[in-house]
């Protein structure tokens, strides 16, 4: 589904990786190791200096940029909601292509387990957890096939973070999404992922199934990170 071949960008050096359809891949590692950059690269918010990225077997340059971005949803670390109501935010993406239908918000609010009466609430009057759910629903409104998540729960308390994780797992099962998630929380890596990619100093140093690679790390760097 997703493939990076020898991709370099800034401090990222020769990154090669692949993520299969409906896989939940987790990129984890210390802060500043370039994890988020990989997500930006795949959403084409930036382009690689070297190497190639493939989506469904074709170079991502072959897709229209806006079309690719709609198909590969990116959830940023902060909700970055647009000023206005919850509804204004939910319809933003589909309205760009004229695909928004009245009543779609009901389904989206259900997906992220938010009460329907929040529909007309000003986003400034929502809690942090609610804002992140609205942001997730806004990304889902485009009906993406791939979901890229950049530390989606880092600003939330543990309970809210776990609630969001449950929502995500259910969504992946229900909609058959492929997901790449960036996190530096090891318990989250264990709970969420089927495939782990450990990043350190701009390179992927170890890849493996989860939770196996956390229990039996092969590289010294991962061992140190897990101990550390």
């Amino acid at each position: 589904m997703i493939e990076f071949k020898n991709v370099s960008y800034g401090p990222l050096k020769n990154i090669s990786l692949s993520v299969d359809k409906q896989e939940i891949a987790i990129l984890f590692g210390p802060s500043g190791s370039g994890k988020s950059t990989l997500l930006y690269l795949f959403n084409r918010l930036i382009d690689p200096e070297q190497g190639e990225i493939f989506y469904k077997g074709k170079p991502i340059d072959d897709f229209s940029i806006t079309g690719l971005r709609q198909n590969v949803g990116l959830l940023l670390q902060s909700p970055n909601l647009f000023p206005g109501s919850v509804l204004d935010n939910l319809k933003y993406g589909p309205s760009l292509t004229g695909s928004w239908k009245e009543g779609d918000e009901k389904r989206l609010l259900e997906y992220v387990q938010l009460p329907q009466d929040l529909r007309d609430r000003d986003v400034d009057h929502l809690s942090g957890g609610q804002q992140q759910r609205v942001s997730l629903a806004r990304t889902l409104a485009n009906e993406p096939e791939v979901l890229l998540l950049d530390e989606p729960t880092s600003a939330l308390d543990n309970n809210t973070a776990e609630e969001i994780e449950i929502v995500l797992k259910e969504l992946i099962e229900e909609k058959g999404l492929t997901m790449v998630m960036v996190t530096h929380q090891l318990d989250q890596v264990r709970r969420m992922g089927t495939k782990g990619m450990f990043m350190n100093e701009g390179t992927i140093q170890e890849t493996g199934g989860l939770p196996g690679m956390l229990d039996n790390p092969e590289t010294l760097e991962l061992k140190e990170y897990l101990e550390g």
Partner: protein, 266 residues
Amino acid sequence: MSPEISNQSLLFLIVFVVVPLSLSYFYQLGMSRSILTSSIRGTIQLFAIGYILTFLFDLNAYIGIPLMITVMIIIASFHARKKGRDLPYVLPTLLAGLIMIEVSVLSLWLLFDMVEFVPSEVIPMSGMVIGNSMVAMGLALERMKTEFAENNGRILAALSLGAEPKQASHLIVQRTLNAALIPNVDRIKTIGLVQLPGMMTGLILGGVAPIMAIKYQLVISLSIFSSVSLSAMFVTLVMYKHFFTKDKQVLESKEAFKEYSSRDNA
């Protein structure tokens, strides 16, 4: 009122400089030097422009007016550019905007017989239009840069949802225009109530009947209102595009992202 201020009377203006100078001295503000130099500099500048205007007013209108307007537009463009020096194509954008505005305003003045094509009318009035447009363009550039920096996350979110740069920066364009236009609207709202506008005051002091002075003031105030709106809109709508690459990526965040990652990995 005496028709002319004598040089002797003018000398007593020094009293107006002594007041802030004394304040600075007694309260140890350390501003004595700058008060003195700015007063002297202002006086020299005004006299210099007085002699230049006298020279221009004596010239043929078809030489004096284009000459002075060109100089004003060039100086205004270079001055406004300071607010957006790091952005590409700022100077040509400002030059083009100011030329377009001045040509449009002047054409309307002449077409509707509001102003006579003589240097003594066109030059001061154009100066006011160009000066105010320059300030509006500078403000718009500055505001746009701040808005882009503060709303980088929202722009990335909009782009990541499939928005075109124009759609992603809609909020910023809206806020920039708002910020550039609000002081202008406020000025028009309180015109004549809080203070008598400069041009009208000048004309009344020069002996023109108040109603005639008001007519001139209306022409210039509404011309400024319109040109300031146009200049802010022009600079905003042309310049927002330069915050993006041809691949619909945010230029600044791209650079910042690379820097951030390099720094963290160092």
